[in-house]
């Protein structure tokens, strides 16, 4: 029977998926290096998305940013006493803590109960120097105190602003401890970091790779097959506690198909081979194209995201001074001279809204009433003139024998950015600014010698994007300590080199302001200062494009959850009895 089915499928070219066997086939353009690595030693988006199916946390956030309990019996709040803030005599918060109680029925996929020891084991490795986690913030200041068999308190000292919204990770200590102890014994006195790293890779690879699938997981799905370069399959974890009512009505198997070429991915959608597309897959243009050919076979969604496209203005070095790029008036003039509304309408059908702040509208900290810098050529010309720039015989602005000629760079091969660049180049030319496009591969732009080395005058304007979870916004992108210098190993993210004393002061205050209303006020002022000085020209917030076939429910995400896997247990087919809880906004 099966053979006949396969033969028929060959002739029909049909995908063996969908409501018929209550499965889900998702297409994506990336393949993760490993999955369910509790210490997230890689930061690829697809890893986070796939981990969402297999992972569970004490708490999680839904599409609206509401914190909900998963492994924990309840969400810690000041009201229920599980979240505590300790202040000194001056009223400054010196420590904060959250207490969690683990549900009695919370179990690993092999049936072993989840224990406090699993969180302790995770934290111990997170802070071990031999484990190559990208950064340890805020876990390097966290301590776990065991209250009883199922309850523990995690204390942050210095305090952590989002302690009540982020829960520590967990790792199956009953499965991994022995291997960790062997690693520990082998590398305790090893001085060569590369040798330690090789041993670490052996350790982590034995639990997280295609060759060694994770042995136990905590989330709603568990991995069953991973064929490198092709697909990864996960099946419903029957011992997962947070199941919807009648879990058999919901998706039982999820298969991720890795299709690195996004055009091939698009053909897969058009030919009906995929039930849905991952948040990591299609480009905006492909989404627009797909939306024109839906024919009720699938629907295309454009989800407002937290990825902010902007143009950094390099205010560092002598060249920047000569071009007045270190003067806010020059940056304002450059912004007034371009028509961002027309640009987003022409290129993105208005689906990607113009931004005037680095904080997105989805964040509670977003300030609506900042200057919107609508196209105002007269104002731009006035500002250029105030700085002493006057049109030369060729129409290009000049000052002291120098032309206002700026080098504009972005990631070569990104067609959307290259189109934006050409439109902006023409708009600036109309006001007398000569813009020379000099694009480089992403590896050069984001490499160690470009953006961060602004003082050497390698670029004047650079277009790229930042991504930040709107819930955890700290404003640290613009702190003056973040200006990359030789002294800090070029590690900061403030590539324009913007330095504002008042912003710095407010940022430091906001960092320890635990009252949300007061924090919003501080961010209002920070955004007002930033908007007045525009160290970077804000363009728009990107939307995430994906498709799904009709009848697939609860496959949604937002700028907060970022991936549809946040709600993995509830994804299902309406025709199989799955109840729709969340609609895509």
């Amino acid at each position: 029977m099966k053979k006949t089915f396969a033969l028929t499928a060959f002739l029909l070219g049909a995908a063996l998926a969908g409501p018929a066997n209550n499965s889900l086939v998702v297409g994506t353009s990336q393949e993760p290096p490993n999955i369910y690595d509790p210490w997230s030693t890689n930061n690829l988006a697809i890893t986070s998305e796939i981990n969402g199916y297999m992972g569970a946390g004490l708490t999680y956030q839904d599409d609206n940013g509401e914190t909900k309990a998963d492994i924990a019996t309840r969400v810690p709040t000041l009201g229920n006493g599980d979240y505590k803030v300790v202040k000194d005599s001056k009223g400054d918060v010196i420590r904060n803590s959250v207490t969690y109680t683990i549900r009695k029925d919370a179990k690993w996929s092999d049936g072993t109960p989840i224990k406090v020891a699993d969180f302790q084991f995770w934290l111990k490795l997170e802070n071990d120097d031999r484990v190559p986690v990208p950064d340890r913030d805020p876990w390097d200041r966290a301590k776990i105190t065991v209250n009883d068999a199922d309850t523990f308190t995690i204390t942050f000292e210095p305090p952590y602003l989002f302690a009540d919204q982020v829960s520590p990770g967990l790792a199956p200590s009953h499965v991994m401890s022995a291997a960790w102890n062997a690693f520990d014994a082998k590398t305790k006195n090893e001085k060569d970091a590369k040798v330690v790293n090789e041993e670490w890779k052996k350790f982590i690879a034995s639990f997280t790779t295609a060759r060694n699938l994770p042995k136990v997981v905590a989330g709603p799905f568990k991995p069953t097959a991973w064929r490198t370069g092709n697909s990864l399959t996960m099946t419903r974890n029957p011992v997962y506690w947070n199941q919807p009512k009648n879990p058999e009505n919901y998706v039982q198997t999820v298969t991720y198909r890795f299709i690195p070429n996004t055009n091939t991915l698009k053909v897969n959608i058009l030919s009906g081979q995929l039930d849905a597309v991952s948040a990591v897959g299609l480009t905006f243009d492909q989404g627009v194209d797909l939306s024109r050919n839906e024919r009720s076979k699938y629907k295309t969604y454009f989800v407002p995201g937290a990825v902010w496209e902007h143009i950094d203005i390099n205010a560092r070095g002598q060249r920047a001074k000569d071009l007045d790029l270190d003067d806010p008036r020059m940056r304002q003039a450059l912004l007034y001279a371009i028509d961002r509304d027309a640009l987003t309408k022409a290129l993105f059908q208005g689906k990607q809204a113009v931004s005037n702040s680095w904080i997105g509208p989805v964040s509670k900290l977003y300030k609506k009433d900042v200057n919107d810098y609508n196209l105002n050529v007269a104002r731009a010309k006035q500002l250029f003139a105030a700085l002493g720039w006057t049109p030369g015989s060729d129409g290009i602005l000049q000052k002291a024998g120098k032309k206002l000629s700026l080098n504009f760079s972005t990631t070569a091969g990104n067609t959307t950015r290259e189109r934006v660049q050409q439109i902006l180049q023409a708009q600036w030319k109309a006001v007398g600014v000569q813009v020379n496009i000099q694009n480089y591969p992403a590896s050069v732009i984001f490499g160690p010698d470009f953006l961060s080395k602004g003082e050497s005058g390698k670029w004047d304007m650079a277009m790229y994007a930042w991504s930040n979870n709107p819930v955890f916004e700290e404003g640290n992108l613009w702190k003056s300590e973040g200006i990359p210098t030789a002294a800090n190993g070029y590690s900061g993210q403030n590539n324009p080199g913007w330095n504002n004393a008042e912003y710095d002061k407010l940022y430091k205050q906001a960092k320890v302001e635990f009252n949300q209303a007061d924090r919003i006020k501080l961010f209002d002022r920070m955004q007002a200062i930033w908007n007045a000085e525009v160290p970077a020209l804000p363009l728009y917030f990107r939307v995430n494009v994906y498709t799904k076939v009709p009848g697939l429910v609860n496959y949604t995400f937002s700028a907060i959850t970022q991936y549809p896997s946040w709600n993995a247990a509830n994804i299902g087919w309406a025709s199989r009895g799955a109840a729709e809880e969340y609609k895509q906004k």
Binding site: K3, F5, S491
Partner: protein, 331 residues
């Protein structure tokens, strides 16, 4: 000849060492490294974190020091782990990528040669005939049309339009490696499933191979047919068929055999564009991806394998010359 072969094998060692040094140096000197990906966009990362990560990955050392560490490990058979896949680089290539490439390229080479050689002969023998013009035109189009364009057209036709035209009766899947059918379904079902995914990339790859080999065969054959010994054979009154297959063909085919021998290393390198268009996880795509993501260990395994195959097949081709051409002696 034995001494010659032994001398060539010994010469390969320093040559491969130099190649490995050049590849390692060029790879290490390109901008960016694996830590950049972890650093960029992470506003919480500190200079200490960066220093710790660079030390952990050994990137704080000069590239030449790293090369000697790599060499020291490599001679013991340890080529390190793939940064992108978390498994040993050697295993990743030999178990996950090479079989897919061979599955695609070996049939492409064999079938296209079997088709192209007779077509080339036919085209040469019937020079300036209608069929010769048609075949030459086909070869011209197939060689000139970019693979990514023909591939995209084929994808749209076989995966979207053909099912629409036939009401869903006929179609081919748009890329990937198969796997709709579990192994329990039996070998026939699994093979058919694989074949279904293989057909499109195979067709596209063969199209170009047929065109190239056919043109080469046609040119060789035409050249051979004008040789004195062919004229002499004809003058002696030998039948056309005998002159063609007994005298001309054997000489015209010899260079094809040599070229095929030299193209085998390239075969292992895979067909990058075809693999990319059809998302076929082969070697060519692996090399490209590893270079982009700075997966140094995978880059080294792939390129060293290609270098080794090139020198080995170069030697075998040289030896084969002596076997097929009595005028060549290596003594």
């Amino acid at each position: 000849m034995g001494t010659y072969a032994l001398r060539r094998v010994i010469q390969m060692i320093p040559l491969l060492l130099v190649i490995s040094l050049v590849i390692f140096g060029l790879t290490a000197l390109q901008p960016g490294d694996p830590v950049d990906q972890l650093v960029f966009g992470n506003s919480n990362i500190t200079p200490e974190d960066i220093a710790r990560l660079r030390a952990a990955y050994g990137l704080d050392q000069p590239w030449i020091t790293r090369y000697f560490f790599w060499l020291q490990q490599a001679v013991t058979g340890n080529f390190g782990y793939s940064q992108d896949f978390g498994i040993p680089a050697l295993e990743y290539i030999f178990q996950n990528r090479l079989p897919n490439t061979l599955l695609l390229t070996v049939p492409a080479l064999v079938i296209s040669t079997l088709i192209a050689v007779p077509l080339g002969i036919f085209s040469a023998v019937r020079q300036y005939s209608v069929l010769d013009y048609l075949l030459t035109f086909f070869a011209f189009v197939a060689v000139s049309a970019p693979v990514f364009w023909v591939g995209a057209l084929a994808l749209y036709f076989f995966a979207i339009y053909l099912p629409q035209l036939t009401g869903g009766l006929l179609s081919l899947p748009p890329g990937g490696l198969g796997g709709d059918v579990p192994p329990e379904a039996g070998w026939l079902a699994v093979t058919l499933d694989k074949l279904k995914y293989l057909l499109l990339p195979l067709m596209i790859l063969m199209l170009r191979e047929i065109a190239v080999t056919m043109r080469f065969m046609r040119a060789n054959m035409l050249e051979t047919l004008t040789q004195d010994y062919v004229r002499t054979a004809r003058a002696k009154g030998l039948a056309d068929r005998r002159v063609l297959y007994k005298h001309a063909l054997r000489n015209a085919v010899t260079p094809i055999v040599t070229i095929m021998g030299l193209s085998i290393p390239g075969l292992f390198g895979g067909a990058v564009i075809t693999e990319t268009v059809f998302s076929w996880p082969g070697m060519g795509k692996a090399i490209l991806d590893a270079l982009v993501t700075k997966d140094f260990n995978v880059v080294m395994v792939c390129l060293m394998m290609l270098a080794l195959l090139t020198v080995v097949f170069q030697l075998l081709t040289d030896l084969a010359y002596a076997l097929v051409d009595p005028r060549i002696r290596y003594s």
